[in-house]
């Protein structure tokens, strides 16, 4: 859950990159890390297996500028994509403010995308979230590869909630910041306001 400190005028939000294994979640935040200047980012933490697959999560704290006087900080997390790590995915979704679903555009990964998205809906429900009310954007990743399905196909099979979508090639850095900017805006618009008692 987001944290707004009205006294110090600071906003902290948690964004989770979710999706099937090897879909490019880690590549997304690695690109953000590589392309962000030192004073805007913290240390990136990756908890990997020996063969460099995400074991628990990747974590990147990102200090953006200020919006209307509020200093903003986004905590970016990825979940492990492999089916085996379902319990870890549930833990990482706790306190989430916004989700980027990173779909793999390759034809042979469509089933994995669908299964992963269904898992996301179920895991969010278990945490008491209604996915229809949670800031969510879809990223159609790996558009640079030759064996991709059409965007229309991805849209009809995966974008059940009619949320913003972005074509991307995270490995080339294409679409990465556009996706992050979109989910960040939705998260900021979703922050609770009111007066401090």
């Amino acid at each position: 859950m987001s944290f707004v400190n009205y006294h110090t005028k600071e906003i902290n939000c948690k964004i989770v990159y979710y999706g099937p294994g090897l879909g490019g979640k880690t590549t997304n935040i690695q690109h953000v890390y590589q392309k962000t200047a030192l004073n805007n980012k913290g240390k990136m933490v990756t908890l990997n297996t020996e063969n460099e697959r995400t074991l628990f999560f990747d974590f990147l704290p990102l200090d953006l500028g200020s919006i209307r006087g509020y200093k903003t900080r986004f905590h970016l997390y990825t979940v492990p994509g492999q089916v085996f790590y379902e319990a870890s995915r549930k833990l990482i979704l706790r306190g989430v403010d916004g989700v980027v679903f990173v779909a793999d555009s390759q034809m042979e990964r469509m089933e994995a995308n669908i299964e992963s998205f269904e898992g996301l809906v179920k895991n969010l429900e278990e945490q008491g979230y209604d996915i229809a009310k949670l800031p969510l954007v879809m990223q159609w990743n790996k558009r640079d590869l030759p064996n991709t399905v059409s965007v229309d196909d991805l849209q009809s099979k995966l974008n059940k909630y009619d949320v913003p979508t972005f074509e991307a090639s995270a490995i080339e850095g294409r679409g990465v910041f556009e996706t992050l900017k979109s989910v960040s805006k939705l998260v900021l618009l979703n922050l609770k306001g009111g007066f401090e008692g």
Binding site: H7, K35, A37, N39, R68, S88, S184, N190, K192, G193
Partner: protein, 156 residues
């Protein structure tokens, strides 16, 4: 007053001479208080501490089934990490200490437990405004130009 301000007041008033690093976290890893001098370290400690606790808790619920007042220690005879859940204003938070080169870590753990008890008492009955109880939204609209500005941080 928000909970983070209350916690800061508590530590300012008490003037603890706590010899190790201490941090108080929300369950999502966001720090409400710490005596760390380094913000980067504080952020990392927050994310990892909460993940560590939640993984241990999930494991205990699966394997041990019994619920209880757990605490989590990862330590050697002289250095380590110690996490305790703490209930503040009816919500769960974590209090965690990190120490090194300590001759009597048990004493340090005891001090943390005392801080936990005192902080719980201090906040009992306080009128804490929880985020989820706030009305309305912080921003009614955000323009694309404002978002561009927010993301105009220096790129490498």
């Amino acid at each position: 007053m928000s909970i983070s301000n209350k916690i800061n007041n508590f530590f300012e008033n008490k003037k603890f001479k706590f010899v190790s690093e201490i941090i108080i976290l929300r369950t999502d890893g966001i720090s409400l208080y710490s005596n760390f001098s380094n913000t980067e370290k504080e952020t990392l400690a927050g994310a990892l501490t909460c993940s560590l606790w939640q993984a241990a808790k999930a494991l205990s619920e699966q394997v041990l089934v019994k619920k209880g007042d757990y605490r989590l220690a990862f330590d050697t005879t002289t250095s380590g990490i110690y996490i305790l859940p703490i209930k503040l204003a009816n919500k769960e938070y974590y209090i965690c200490t990190f120490w090194k080169d300590q001759k009597v870590p048990a004493q340090l753990k005891n001090e943390v437990r005392k801080i936990k008890d005192e902080l719980e008492s201090f906040l009992e009955g306080n009128n804490i405004v929880q985020e989820e109880n706030r009305e309305g939204f912080l921003f009614q609209n955000i323009t694309d130009a404002e978002m561009d500005d927010l993301f105009s941080m220096k790129r490498v």
